[in-house]
Amino acid sequence: MTTLFIQSLLDALTLGALYALIALGYTMVYGVLGFINFAHSDVFAIGAWTGLLTSSLLGLSIVMGSQTVEPRGWEIFLVIPAAVLVCGLLAWVIQRLAYAPLRDAPRLNVLITAIGVSLLLQNVGQLPWVFGTDPRPMPRLIENPLLFEIQGVQVTLLPMLTIVAAMVLMVGLEVLIFHTRFGRAMRAVSMNPKVASLMGIPVDRVIDGTFVLGGALAGAAGVLFAMEYPTVQQPASNTWVLLGLKAFIAAVIGGIGNIRGAMVGGFLIAFLERFGAAAQQFFPGIISFDTTVYRDVYCFAILIVILLVRPAGLFGRSVVEKV
């Protein structure tokens, strides 16, 4: 029982950290522009692919189910920055080409454009000379030694690394947003872009910067995810789409537009998912059906509940709709 509890806890923390990283990108863009950037989950998928491809470039690859070269340990310090760079750049390009020209258009137009960008990335990703449609195994970037054992649960390096890396990124983002000049500008733009420009804030550049930040976090999350669950699917696969959707729900539950809300939402959803799945094992006498098959249902259920009782999300203030 304790074993199961600790195992679920560890899984939930790892997954939650990843959801939170992705959710931050949704919530930041919503904060400054007031629309859902549906292409964000595809940027995340491309982050994972960037991780896979740069690993191969560095000589790490998987042939016939086994890795050709053992990782030398430093690859990770190239692979993660590469994904961060590629995804930050990609998010910037998407913003400049697709969204920036629509700054004065109704938000519905922008929303539909976002769906279009998402479909474009997903379908281009399936082309044989891009990623193709076959799932690919992610090579090992680091060894995964046993760190310690607690109540029969073996805690290894990889999930710990994921949790710590995600935490470091989130703390960094928190500092950036709440304690720097750029962060203050970003918050001002999200509250009132016109008045922000009267303060001398270059609103366009702040918006671009927000996309780059969100993209960079998604890129890091993509590699971390691929390291933890080492099968990289095509961007249009159900797995990725569902993952993006859950991160989006995390942002909504936390209160879309709210940075801390997105972090909490990410962990909340992962906890529900993992503990929900294990519920039958926790209460064998009481729950007679197989709870694992419903693992994706719990987060949608909590979404409905939250939208009913606290439509602005856990941390959201209901505000008058901005025009």
Binding site: R184, R187, M191, N192, K194, S197, L198, R317
Partner: protein
């Protein structure tokens, strides 16, 4: 002495098909208070928005210190020395009073100057000094207006645009605000003041412009307009 600070030349502004400004001409001398009066929807706020760069004129030009500024983005115009305390105050409600104030100095890099302007602004508005850590959204209307003006001053502007600073405030507060406007002007800041409260505005201004449906229908020394029969009938309640 009579150096032109701001010139509007045949200024036209459209909102889509609405022709809001239809050829405004205006000259503002350095060191003066100029007021812009006119009924609701006359185009007063639109004029200020065109000057601060929130709106792009469809025709005509705006010269500040002799340089054309009508092609510049709003965030560049602040750096030239024009600050705009907009209609409705434009406070950032979820930021603290302090953060709002410091945003006013966003375009500046001179730490020393910013610090001394902060001290000066807080001396002008002691009420704000007591509420620095408070969320700006929780301030009263009068305090928010004070914050809007103090924040605009943090840009150390040579021209200050004020859009209806007395709107919705109790008479005593209005008195305070107008006294401070005069004080700011006495320190050398040129002021373009938009007001519904024409009597108050005319009594502190040097020059006045009356606009109606996007055109200047009258201008001259404020003292003369205060005694003008037509103006009295239309804007001074008799």
């Amino acid at each position: 002495m009579s150096e032109l600070l701001l010139q509007l030349q045949d200024l036209h502004v459209h909102y889509g098909v609405i022709h809001a400004l239809q050829g405004i001409n205006m000259n503002i001398e350095r060191g003066t208070i100029v007021t812009l009066i006119g009924g609701n929807g006359a185009g007063k706020s639109t004029t200020l928005r065109a000057v601060s760069g929130l709106l792009r004129p469809t025709h005509g030009s705006i010269l500040f210190e002799g340089q054309p500024i009508h092609q510049l983005a709003a965030h560049r115009i602040v750096r030239r020395g024009i600050a705009h305390a907009p209609e409705g105050r434009g406070i950032f409600p979820n930021l603290s009073v302090e953060e709002n104030l410091m945003l006013g100095a966003y375009a500046r890099n001179d730490r020393e100057g910013i610090r001394s302007d902060r001290t000066k602004s807080l001396a002008l508005f002691p009420r704000l000094a007591e509420r620095l850590r408070q969320r700006a959204g929780t301030l009263s209307g009068g305090e928010q207006q004070m914050l809007a003006i103090a924040r605009a001053l943090m840009a150390r502007p040579r021209l200050l645009l004020l859009d209806e600073p007395s709107l919705g405030l109790a008479p005593q507060i209005v008195q305070v605000i107008f006294r401070i406007i005069r004080q700011i002007n006495a320190e050398g800041v040129t002021i373009l003041l938009v007001e519904q409260n024409a009597h108050m505005a005319l009594s502190i201004a040097d020059q006045a412009y009356v606009i109606q449906t996007g055109k200047v229908i009258k201008h001259g020394p404020a003292r003369e307009l205060l005694t003008d029969k037509d103006i009295q009938k239309a804007y001074l309640g008799g």
